[in-house]
């Protein structure tokens, strides 16, 4: 499997706490070094639309101004915003393929400080509430992941220092 992008591919980097939706089939959305952060990777195979959110923290409750300034920072504000952007370009929930990547943790991290675990927990709640089905996940562990979504094909590639695979 090759890590090299095709010559015609456009690579759009999604930064930490940011999200991006694209309907350009020649675009690859990519986000680096997820750590305890989580990437929600969404693809609409019918419309060839892709979306990627790289959120850092589970809940914005304690930091309402931050959530307004940068909704992509939190699961509880970033996930709804990602889906609204997708709906705005004509996508329907039941046709979306949703994948979840990241939420890693350090060794020995005590529960209360396991931000990766809390990130995943809150995401599950948000999805359960809104009836979103997760097609695949690569989460947890002491692993830092980089993930990319090919908007045209929907192919999701996850890489870390020691391995690469298609999710």
């Amino acid at each position: 499997m090759s890590a090299q992008p095709a010559a015609t591919e456009k690579r759009q980097v999604v930064g930490i706490g940011e999200l991006c939706v694209s309907d350009q089939a020649d675009t690859v959305l990519i986000t680096y070094a997820l750590g305890s952060c989580v990437a929600v990777v969404v693809h609409d195979p019918k419309r060839r639309v892709g979306g990627l959110l790289h959120y850092m923290l589970p809940q914005s409750k304690a930091m309402p101004e931050k959530a307004v300034a940068q909704p992509g920072m939190f699961a509880d504000t970033g996930v709804p915003m990602l889906f609204h952007r997708l709906y705005a370009v004509g996508c329907h929930k039941r046709e979306l393929v949703v994948k979840v990547v990241g939420g890693g943790h350090l060794l020995g991290a005590a529960d209360a400080f396991d931000i990766g675990h809390r990130n995943l927990e809150v995401l599950d709640k948000v999805f359960a509430r809104s009836g979103v089905f997760v097609a695949a996940r690569d989460v947890g562990g002491a692993v830092s992941r980089t993930v990319e979504l090919n908007v045209g094909t929907g192919r999701v590639t996850v890489r870390s220092h020691r391995k690469e695979h298609v999710l």
């Binding site: 499997m1 680096y32 750590g35 890693g104 060794l107 830092s144 220092h161 020691r162």
Partner: protein
């Protein structure tokens, strides 16, 4: 396994940290130090002074008329900021192009160091104000030992990978197992060689094991660095071969009185600052080097 002599030889072989910065750091905790003193210490080192002024005039510190002298820079940005800028300029002069054993280059090392500095200052401000002032500078220098350990690890890269992959060991423990020493211990040797203050040497030595630090102040500082280091790893400010295989000691977090959710506030408030600092200090956080998969 490597011997103390082998380590000493490599420590001696490192480029020498600028004497002007070492002299400045002697005054790190001196309450009497003035802008004039800082200027006098740095003045003989034209290269370093130029670097410091360049950073002091970077967009990180906003617009405004440029500062022309170190003294003006101290007046505008404060003593602690100048200590940090001088330290980062000194560090930039001695970094090798690549730290092969860790799978990173100089920019990634600088990026991680700058991010730890920012998070350490913020964690200090909230949870350990008595070490807040030194936290930034200590953060910049916390991983110095990697400059020497890297080459030794690189020679054992196959064993390193096996240990990391199959045993879920912390990177520091792998260093100990393969080499008989680690980047904390060796960092302290480097600090001694460069005549950096004892507090900085102890911070380098014990940032992964704060409980072992021999005095109350360095224990506190190491606790702050330990937490800051953990934050950089989980938020992508480090892209080395160990990934997240490092320990966060729950007792250390507890010793600082950090409540659940507390770190999330620190992160939300400082991540943008950390990104800007990384960029200003010439660090970058590139994509992890790709593993080749057959």
């Amino acid at each position: 396994m490597i011997t103390a002599e082998e380590v000493a030889v490599e420590v001696d072989r490192l480029p020498v940290f600028p004497a002007s910065v070492a002299a400045l750091l002697k005054r790190l905790r001196d309450p009497e130090v003035t802008a004039r003193d800082v200027e006098a210490i740095l003045r003989p080192d034209a290269l370093l002074t130029a670097r410091v002024l360049k950073l002091a005039n970077s967009s990180y510190y906003g617009a405004g008329s440029p500062v022309a002298t170190v003294k003006d820079a101290v007046v505008r940005l404060g003593l602690q900021t100048l200590f940090g800028l001088a330290t980062s300029s000194g560090l930039a002069q001695v970094l090798p192009k690549r730290l092969a054993g860790y799978g990173i280059d100089a920019q990634a090392f600088m990026g991680h160091s700058a991010a730890v500095a920012v998070f350490a200052e913020q964690v200090g401000r909230r949870y350990a104000p008595e070490v807040e002032k030194v936290a930034f500078t200590a953060g910049l220098l916390h991983d110095l030992g990697k400059l020497v350990i890297s080459a030794f690890l690189d020679r054992q890269s196959a064993a390193l990978r096996v240990k990391l992959e199959s045993e879920e060991m912390a990177l520091l423990d792998v260093e100990r197992e393969l080499l008989g020493t680690d980047h904390g211990e060796v960092g302290a040797r480097i600090c001694e060689r460069w005549r950096l203050p004892q507090l900085i040497a102890r911070a380098a030595a014990f940032h992964h094991q704060p409980a072992l630090a021999p005095d109350a102040e360095s224990r506190r500082l190491c606790a702050v660095l330990h937490v800051a280091d953990a934050l950089t790893h989980v938020f992508g400010f480090s892209t080395d071969v160990g990934e997240l295989q490092r320990r966060l000691e729950p007792e250390v977090v507890a010793s600082l009185g950090i409540a659940p959710g507390g770190l999330e506030l620190v992160v939300a408030e400082s991540v943008a600052q950390a990104q800007a600092m990384v960029a200003m200090m010439g660090g970058e956080l590139p994509a992890p080097k790709l593993a080749v998969v057959a």
